[in-house]
Symmetry: C2
Subunit: 940 residues, 2 copies
């Protein structure tokens, strides 16, 4: 857009703001930068803004594409605007009586705090200083401003600054010498003479070191400062910042030249910053702080403590009332919470800056919601203002924030890991799942600490308040299960050295030893591990939704959550399902709004009460007959599991995956466990060891698992299908609807699916015939190896639905084991090989390519093929958006992510609609452009 303007409107380089109307508006950020555009907007809103002008970003672009020169008319335009400022302020640039002083500031389209240069008090010299003294009646103030200006200009514009990290700032050096000579400590103790001397000494240093005179002519100063600001667009800091934040170099910066106002002209002057609402809580209250007789720098320096904004009511009621009014005007106008800067000069209020304010996650949700209630914005806009992950603040248990701060201050933070399961948990350390169950049954709160977890640990994880592991990534077993359970969890906390035998862990590089039974607290939202017991409480939403505790004080937040979700559901196109293996998880998910189950991992069930025995018996079987005998024992147990889920889901679709992991996962790998198993099953330890050995694999991820199990042992698929369908019949008999979707994992070839599908359908027919009860069901597959995606067109001949298993699809597409990637993936992300951990957010280039191909090929075969995703990505906002964009029907995620997915899906749909509108406009424009051309042609 700016490019176009550059071509069509080359004569306008300078935009004046001041008087009754500015040349610019808030909409013109591309041209004027954020600061300039908002200054213009405030002028238009008739707010008191010191006048000034903005040199547009086009000049910056021109500057860099024309060997750092300016458009030829720029000088004239600047002079005109300056004259207008002089007139408005009633002062003159360079005047010895009533000099105009200005600030020169950068201002890019996106905020780049501290990255570029600023010069204040510009216009001071040995002549104008007199005017400033006269005007302010404060010689010390005037010389203090002068010496600051010379140092700032010397540094920023002339480049007299430390050349290496070890160098001392040349001006600082002189200042320190002066203070030393005078035997004083603080700048404030310098007297007028000291300051005068400093001005001279600073200028001398510039002359000595740079061989040039300090420019006395204010116009020279001004052009120097403008050049410096444009120059700072390409300084190293700014380049790095842009790269990190994805800001294109081509945007350029604007330059804002504005009349100086002073908050340090005595007790009726002051300066402050404020938010139009509480940025921490979102509460609708004016919130900020100020200092009288001070400049912005003083607030930052921290020597004096600013006062809360409310006290300004007493100190300067007029300004305070004016601020309250401005607050309302701004919020009415911007329809958002704003961050403002103001200065009071001798009782007169000036606005120096306004912009949309940063806020905490909770505040973001609350402000967006409140603004809908206040009629300022529409629900759609509110949804676009809430980052889905911010919803976590409404769902997760939280630490008492004062207690946690206290702990952090007193050095109780001992390590950091990956924030795998958000929330807060405190409890006594236990080192194994059995102890977790034991202790919890005695009413103890425990944190389960493990090197890593395995399916055998599930009961212990469920009993614990939180889980902390040394190894593993964001989609490790611990992370995955914890999220599904809604447990607070930290994984990959490599600094812990766990000694299971001694029942202690030490912290690498620290002299800390935590024993079994010691209290720790873990913050699953930040990955922090702290010593001691920090009080925490479940979120209001969870209290109401999950714990069914209807405390009236929780009602407003619950109401807010509920309405936001209702809005989201109105817009989203994606259905939201959940990954759940147990009735209670399923119930939680429904409470959070799940519309079905996208993934039930049947193998988790095998670790339940009484099931692991027959399972192991099956694995030890040497022939089909004994395998069938063992499976027959599992059948009724698994049927009961499915019944429980079907009942809770009450007719909603339930996708059940047939057994997936390699069989050795069901056997104990340590000798103790093997001995117990041998005893329990009445077989020799040798036999168990041999079987464990023979099932061991080099790369289990790519081994004998998924549908390969069912192909070699069809009796497993038969048993599981029977359990599913008999459960369906039983639930139907009891009067409820059921809709099972049987999902075959790890299919890479349609023939694999065909083989398993035939077994499933045969069992379904058998069960219907045996019971005389009909039920609907589907058979589909996971797409989780590249070949499955590649041959999706063939697979869709058989599959009634696809579900992307993006965990495994990521592992295979990238050739990257999630469990082993800890050694190099952090470096990879740090070196920007991958912008984000591909196990956290879908790798849209690689994995996404295969997904798009599979969707296209699958639907070419079967137009209405139902397609979803059940990998962990299904609850990650960027991935949800991607799934929406490629036309999936649903995403499935862990129960506690369901609200987040609902919001993400709504936002994706809204973005789509906006893009569509923009496209329509462009198309219309394109058409009319064409028409114009045609018309022109035909006129020729």
């Amino acid at each position: 857009m700016s490019d176009k303007k550059a071509k069509t409107n080359t004569s306008k380089y300078v935009y004046y703001f001041g008087g009754k109307k500015a040349d610019g508006t808030a909409e013109m950020k591309e041209l004027l930068g954020g600061k300039g555009a908002n200054l213009a907007e405030m002028v238009n809103l008739k707010l008191p803004v010191p006048p000034g002008f903005t040199i547009s970003t086009e000049v910056c672009t021109y500057y860099y594409s024309n060997k750092q020169t300016y458009p030829k008319d720029l000088k004239k335009h600047v002079e005109t605007s300056l004259a207008q400022m002089e007139k408005e302020v009633g002062a003159k640039f360079g005047d010895s009586e009533n000099p105009l002083l200005v600030s020169v500031r950068s201002g890019a389209r996106a905020s780049m705090p501290g990255m570029m240069d600023t010069v204040l008090n510009l216009g001071l010299n040995d002549i104008t200083i007199k005017g400033l003294i006269k005007k302010s009646g404060n010689e010390r103030f005037a010389y203090d401003s002068y010496r600051r200006f010379v140092a700032m200009y010397g540094d920023v514009v002339l480049g007299l600054k430390p050349q290496t990290k070890d160098d001392i700032d040349p001006f600082e050096e002189i200042l320190e010498a002066k203070k030393h000579a005078r035997g004083i400590k603080h700048d404030i103790e310098l007297n007028v003479d000291d300051l005068k001397e400093l001005v001279v000494e600073f200028k001398k240093a510039i002359k000595d070191k740079l061989g040039m005179d300090f420019p006395n002519d204010p116009m020279d100063q001004l052009w120097g400062a403008i050049g410096a600001v444009f120059g700072s667009w390409m300084n190293d800091r700014a380049k790095v910042y842009r790269k990190l934040n994805g800001i294109p170099e081509s945007w350029g910066t604007a330059v804002n030249v504005q009349a100086m106002v002073f908050g340090n002209l005595g007790e009726t002057s002051g300066t402050g910053v404020a938010f139009t609402r509480n940025a921490a809580t979102g509460d609708n209250e004016f919130y900020g702080e100020y200092l009288m007789n001070a400049q912005g720098e003083d607030v930052v320096a921290g020597i004096r403590t600013p006062q809360p904004i409310s006290t300004l009511k007493e100190q300067d009621p007029k300004s305070y009332e004016q601020l309250l009014e401005i607050r309302k005007i701004l919020e009415d106008h911007y329809r958002d919470m704003l961050d403002i800067e103001f200065t009071i000069q001798e009782g007169r209020l000036y606005m120096l800056q306004c912009r949309v304010g940063k806020r905490t996650a909770f505040a973001a949700v609350k402000i967006a919601y409140d603004m809908v209630k206040e009629g300022r914005i529409k629900p759609k806009e509110a949804l676009m203002r809430i980052e889905p992950d911010q919803l976590n603040q409404l769902l997760r248990p939280v630490f008492d924030s004062n207690a946690k701060s206290e702990m952090l201050k007193t050095g109780k933070l001992i390590a950091k890991g990956l924030n795998a399961g958000p929330g807060a948990a405190s409890g006594k350390v236990v080192f194994n799942a059995e102890d977790a169950v034991d202790w919890a049954s005695k009413g103890e709160k425990v944190i389960l600490v493990r090197l890593e977890t395995s399916p055998e640990d599930i009961a212990g994880m469920n009993a614990a308040e939180g889980i902390l592991t040394v190894r593993g990534g964001m989609t490790s077993h611990a992370a995955l299960v914890a999220r599904q359970m809604g447990k607070t969890c930290i994984v990959g906390c490599g600094a812990l050295n766990v000694d299971y035998k001694a029942r202690v862990f030490k912290v690498e590089g620290k002299n800390i030893e935590v024993k079994e039974g010691d209290f720790i607290s873990i913050d699953g939202s930040t990955g922090e591990v702290l010593l001691g017991n920090i009080p925490n409480k479940p979120s209001e939403v969870v209290s109401v939704l999950i714990n069914k505790i209807l405390d009236p004080k929780d009602a407003p937040i619950f109401q807010m959550y509920n309405e936001i979700m209702t809005w989201a559901d109105k817009y989203r196109k994606l259905k939201i399902r959940t990954n759940a293996d147990q009735p209670d998880q399923s119930a939680n998910a429904i409470a959070f709004g799940a519309e079905g189950i996208g993934l039930t991992r049947t193998e988790h069930m095998f670790f339940g009460e009484g099931k692991i025995g027959p399972m192991r018996e099956m694995i030890l079987s040497d022939d089909t007959e004994s395998r069938k005998k063992a499976l027959a024992k599992i059948l009724p147990l698994q049927r009961t599991d499915f019944e429980g889920i079907f009942k809770v889901m009450d007719g909603r679709p339930v996708t059940i995956r047939t057994i997936d992991p390699p069989l050795h996962e069901f056997l104990p790998h340590d000798e103790t466990g093997q001995k117990e198993m041998a005893k329990a099953m009445g077989v020799s330890l040798q036999k168990i060891k041999e079987r464990v050995e023979s099932l061991a694999e080099f790369n289990p991820m790519l081994g004998f698992r998924g549908c390969r199990l069912g192909l070699i042992y069809p009796e497993i698929t038969e048993m599981q299908s029977r359990a599913i369908f008999e459960a369906a019949v039983n639930v139907k008999k009891a009067g409820q609807e059921v809709f099972p979707e049987v999902m075959i994992p790890l299919v890479g070839n349609v023939k694999e699916l065909k083989n398993q599908e035939e077994i499933v359908r045969k069992v379904a027919d058998d069960v219907m015939n045996e019971t005389g009860i009909k039920f609907d069901y589907m058979v589909g597959t996971m797409i989780e190896v590249p070949r499955g995606a590649i041959t999706a067109g063939d697979i869709a001949q058989v599959a009634e639905f696809f579900s992307f298993g993006t965990n495994d699809l990521t592992q295979t597409t990238l050739g990257l084991s999630r469990d082993d990637s800890g050694r190099f993936l952090p470096t990879y992300v740090a070196k920007e090989i991958y912008d984000i951990d591909p196990f956290v957010s879908i790798d849209q280039t690689g994995v996404g390519f295969l997904m798009k191909h599979a969707v296209k090929a699958g639907r070419e075969t079967k137009q209405n093929l139902k397609i979803g995703i059940c990998g962990e990505h299904g609850g990650e906002p960027a991935s949800v958006e991607f799934c929406h964009s490629i036309g999936l029907n649903y995403v499935s995620c862990s129960p506690f992510r369901v609200p987040i997915a609902r919001l993400a899906a709504a936002r994706a749909a809204i973005k789509d609609a906006i893009a569509e509108k923009t496209k329509d406009k462009k198309d219309k424009k394109g058409k009319s452009d064409k028409k114009d051309k045609k018309d022109k042609k035909s006129k020729k």
Copy 2:
């Protein structure tokens, strides 16, 4: 084509053969089937063929698309042809004096031996039997023919046959009862009355069991038989056979009706089969066997022993001379070795069948070669007649075939594994690499038997005659290294229970124990493991090429090999490179015709003399400095390795892959090895154990390996690059050319490659600056994970070449660990999920999709991007053909596969040219068709 004809030429259903010219030709196999077309061709060649006619395959198609009815004119056409036969033979169908008897046989386009039905002696009934008796003067012969006909007709046409496996054949039952009643054992002992009674009893059985009379009218018999033959096209056997052999159902079968001739009419009659050349050796000699006074059945029954064809010269010199002449006519005409069937009826020779004969691999090569020398075919045709794998027969050591047969007969075959490294080897069993080296150094021949091999075993594998492993597939470490070394190797021989401690192996299910030092023999071409020492010898070609032993008796075969390779090189478009890590392997490969090295695995070098120590020191290093110190020790050793290879390759391109395997592969995993290492390195056993533990991975295949190592430890890439380039400089200094291509493995993201490429280029610049010597080189990458293929367009921005690593690409695309697939892949291939082990031949649908995408995307970025393949597939003919078809520049394979790849590449190019020609013709035809239409239109 037949479809088209069906439309354009519907009136011709029956093709007569006999007299001077047949209606058909050998070209018309689609319409007449193989048998019918060749019978027609023999008639056209004026060979003595009993007359007859062929009902075309179109009738079969008609039959099945019209509810099993015939075209209305068929009856008329059959009757006309039958009349022509009667005239030519001088006999009449159904005649009581001189009856015409016929055979009715199926004949599809492709040979389907024994799958479909045949009826002989058709036309016999109680009337015509009299004529047969009169004509033959042999009542027993006549009734024997009659009872055989009734039984055959009853079975084939009327369907009186066993219904289940356990049923007895109804006719056999009657026959047995008869013999039992007569107290005789053999059919031959039945007298005329017995045979007469059998005819009656057979007919009665048909009446009793089927409720129908046996058809006496020969025309009814004929139509019944024709219907039965068409019907047999859809019997279960035929369906299964077609499915297994990829024969489309739509082809249909033809029906051949031919006048019967009898080889059992006394001592001047006889029957035989022959090959125009020796099908075993390929020697140009007439080869076959015959029986006087016999029919084909008798030869098959094996009661009498046939005589070698040469003795016919004495017994029936006229027929023998005639056969020799026919042999020449047929070979001249067909320009190939043929398989013929003939019958002599009372001194008169008849040809009943001719077709291209099956032959051994060696004979295939020799016949094709000889026919070029004889001027019968062109080199191009010879190449198309030699299956590339047949060349192995010229290259591999072979067992003395008599000695091996003897062993097989005496039960010395103890197990079978996968034929991973073709050839023959005998030796004493050893169970570890050290023993193999020791024993071999004392002059013993040894077979190394291991559960599986690892890089530590390389010296032992090299010292052994052959390698036998219990685990692993066709691309396991053992298989891969063995092929590269040209060693005989069997892998995945799961029936062996190896006990390293006791130094024995037992064979599952057999009472056999083989101890260290016992002799075994392994056939790497068949996977057979035999007890004892079978003599074997290296192939002639290897004697000359590799062993440089110029025995004159080897000259002819070597000459043949050499010429065939010269022909192949003329046609092929693909370059052929080799995978070699050592100078001697490289020299072998060049001897076999390699034009460069496509893959040098640098990690194999680390196991060489003196290198494993510093390598382990590097792995134990805790910081960059000590890692660099260790690497500095490896540098000169690795440089020497590269110099050796560069010298041998003498300017040919050498692709060197930077370190690829996970570091733990370089550490000992057993306690003994770890203790030794601890002692050697002067560190604690504990430290080594810890490092082994910390480097352990869940899925090493997807773990910390490939370019990931170089990204985290750039100093490794630096050292390797330096070794490569310093070696290049040294070899250049010595006056030879060098062209190294540095290949970065496991790249899935262009940024990975960029990172490593910068390191390589910097080292190259450094070395050039330091030495003042310039050299050319390239930097490229392996495409071996799906993401690499998907983003090939980006990767080609940096890569100067691609090399497909199809081993790993197959593992990741299919989600299939080659080392773990042994448990289910055989079942998968057996169940036809995959037609062929995807580690043996490229999975063109899945992996091929990614390869095609990568070639296209890569060349879109860089038009002339050099692309090759260095996976094990590079030496497999179907894969080579695929690589040709997608436009690769070269394939790289193990040295001993180079000749096979050369031939496969030539065949691919020739096939292409043929397809191109056909396309051109079609295009021209298409154009002229269009032209015709246009012309017609314009005429209108």
